[in-house]
């Protein structure tokens, strides 16, 4: 066994236990230091997010990674929890399953929101912290590098993380951005003070929106929000004038009747000068009469429209799972083959050194018998010997590499050792 994982994820462990297991940055640093003291020579990367706490450990043959019981005790001690309380809740995996799991985690396949990209930066941070504390080694380094490569492939070759899932992000990125190229020269009108409106506004501000006007039936509330979100508060009585000037409206009032009906809109339509108007009506019941959407130049999206778009995106992500899993499986196999191939290194080195030694001895004998050879001829003969040795060595190396795909090539290694009298 060279790789081991002990973890608690949102899939199997209740939130109450995950909360007790979660590490702050300082606690994680302390835990890494404690691990190095408890298990010298072993590697550890500690990944702690709101949805998972995972210990990735590794060790070479001479100092294998800690057992699951040792890891469980270690984790319990670090968090001041009775180890017995954790038993049965945590997942323990070894070798190939660890690699597959990490690659899936980094790619967002194990996230609560499928394909969310934030986990990748959290994986990077966990690895960086372990590197800074010298708790990584060749195995975890290679494994995490491969995990990042896998995540990159999944992101570029599938659409699993591309479709947006939150209503504000879909409203801004897929609809408002479809109409407007830029927001910095647009006038944004915020009606009401809903939480979702504030989030939508943040997306718009990230996109460059600067001219923001807030309207609320309570001017005091509008002023308070304007100071918090950035913008100008205006009296509710100015609704028509503001509608005429606005390019984009985000509406979340708690009104039981539409705030803007078709008659009101028709009255201000001519004052708009033909400019397009995007309305993100996030209120329930709706603030804008649906009939307004038939007016030319009006792009009206209700919360139902946006929710349907989000659901469609969620389905698109689900459809990408098989392709993403195939990439994870392919990268896992590749990583494991390389890992297994590492075992063959010492044997190959011995074999090569033995052949080189024999070759050198033969060359010395040949050069003594043929002293008339000049340095150029000697160099050519030496090169020919090297090529001959390399060609002889090539087939067993290829066989070893091929065999590594199925696991450590112990049989072939034993055969080579016995055939060529190599030491263990």
């Amino acid at each position: 066994m060279t790789l081991a994982l002990l973890g608690a994820t949102h899939r199997s462990v209740p939130l109450a236990i995950r909360e007790r297991l979660a590490f702050t940055t300082d606690q994680a640093i302390e835990a890494i230091g404690r691990f190095r003291d408890c298990f010298p020579g072993r590697e550890l990367v500690l990944l702690s997010t709101c949805n998972r706490v995972e210990l990735y450990t590794a060790g070479e043959q001479e100092s294998p990674p800690p057992t699951s019981e040792e890891l469980l005790r270690f984790l319990a001690e670090c968090r001041g929890i009775n180890a017995g309380d954790l038993a049965g809740h945590l997942d323990c995996q070894v070798d190939q399953a660890v690699v597959r799991h990490l690659f899936g985690v980094a790619s967002g396949l194990d996230s609560m929101v499928l394909g969310e990209p934030q986990i990748l930066s959290q994986v990077k941070q966990a690895w960086a912290m372990a590197r800074e504390r010298d708790s990584t080694g060749p195995l975890t380094s290679e494994m995490f590098q491969s995990a990042l490569r896998t995540a990159k492939r999944v992101a570029s070759e599938t659409a699993i993380g591309r479709e947006r899932l939150s209503i504000p992000s879909v409203a801004v990125a897929d609809f408002a951005r479809g109409v407007f190229e830029r927001f910095d020269d647009k006038r944004v009108l915020l009606l009401g003070a809903g939480k979702m409106a504030a989030e939508t506004l943040r997306y718009l501000q990230d996109g460059g929106a600067r001219h923001i006007v807030l309207l609320n039936r309570s001017l005091e509330r509008a002023t308070e929000l304007a100071s918090k979100l950035g913008g100008v508060a205006v009296e509710w009585s100015c609704l028509n004038e503001e509608l005429a000037m606005a390019d984009l409206v985000v509406s979340t009032t708690g009104a039981s009747e539409p705030v803007v009906d078709a008659t009101r809109y028709t009255a201000i339509e001519s004052a708009r000068g033909g400019r397009p108007l995007v309305v993100l009506d996030l209120a329930v019941p709706r603030d804008f009469d649906p009939a307004i959407s038939s007016r030319p130049g009006v792009w009206l999206y209700s919360i139902e429209d946006l929710a349907a778009a989000c659901e469609a995106n969620r389905k698109k992500r689900q459809r990408e799972i098989p392709a993403a899993l195939a990439i994870v499986e392919e990268e896992t196999s590749r990583f494991m083959a390389e890992l297994h191939h590492r075992h063959t290194g010492p044997v190959i080195e011995q074999l090569r050194a033995g052949w080189n030694e024999t070759g050198e001895a033969e060359l010395e004998r040949l050069f003594r018998k043929l002293p008339e050879l000049d340095s150029a001829a000697r160099l050519e003969i030496r090169k020919a010997f090297d090529r001959y040795a390399a060609k002889l060595l090539h087939p067993p190396l290829v066989s070893l590499r091929d065999e590594s795909h199925a696991g450590p090539p112990h049989g072939l290694l034993d055969a080579l050792k016995r055939l060529f009298n190599l030491e263990d």
Binding site: D174, G178, V179, E181, G274, A309
Partner: protein, 304 residues
Amino acid sequence: MGDFVAGISVVCFAASYAVALAFEASRLFFRSGVRGAALVGFAAAGLLAHTLFLLWRAINEPAVPLSSEFDWYLLAAWLLAMGSLWLTLANPKTPVGLFFLPIVLLLIGRAEVASRVPFPQSPATQAWGMIHGSFNLAASVAVAVGAVGGLMWLIQAGRLSRKTTPAQGFRMPSLEKLAALTGRSMVVAATTGAAGFLSGMVLNAINQQSGLLETVPWNDPVVLRMGLLVGWLILAAVIARVLAHRPQGPRVRAWLSLVSLLVLAGSMSWGLVGSSRHGRSPIATLTPTETSETSPATAEEDRP
């Protein structure tokens, strides 16, 4: 090197563009990490071969460089291919080539059936001939760009009206950007089209005065179809301008730009069947070599 460049044929770059178009179309069906590079690679290879082909013709042409109908179509295709590649690099998520490359391929196809005999020119008319050809070229390219912008606008507006998120590999630019592109293209097309027509009139007047080359009568099919095209382009630009501050303005502009492309295509097709004195030498000045190089359509046109 010379032999290599001389060996480049129309098929070489047309095939490269066709492969790039196939890569663009494949966006709609599946994702690929290497497609973007392959697509740009084939489009760039096609553009390079296209450029070398035109340069070779410009250097080896005995007359004024690139002054035949064949060269004119290839130049138009080259400009659009270059624009397509540039826009693809600037907007890697938008299938720009899917809209531009079919027009490029159609222009190359049209070039294949066009006359390769250079338009006859005297030293007195050479500059005006170049001005006339350049303005017409700019107008045609502007019409094509405007139509692509208009078509993209209609597709994007359709998607926004249906309230669906963008389809895989089919993310369009914003309506604002497309409307601006279409509007500018229509103005450029109308202006350069009118300038091309006027410079043609000047050219004809010089020919008439000097008596060196044949003049084109007002009722010549080329004059008529170009007049209609320019008239339409000006009318479309005026309508677009009038409706600029109406809510339905961008949609009308998009349709007008598409109709402009149809009018241009109709005008080009008309050129295949009608007989004209436009760009022809007086029959007495034609050498046997020139007549033998003329395409069947041109041979028909050359009859008095």
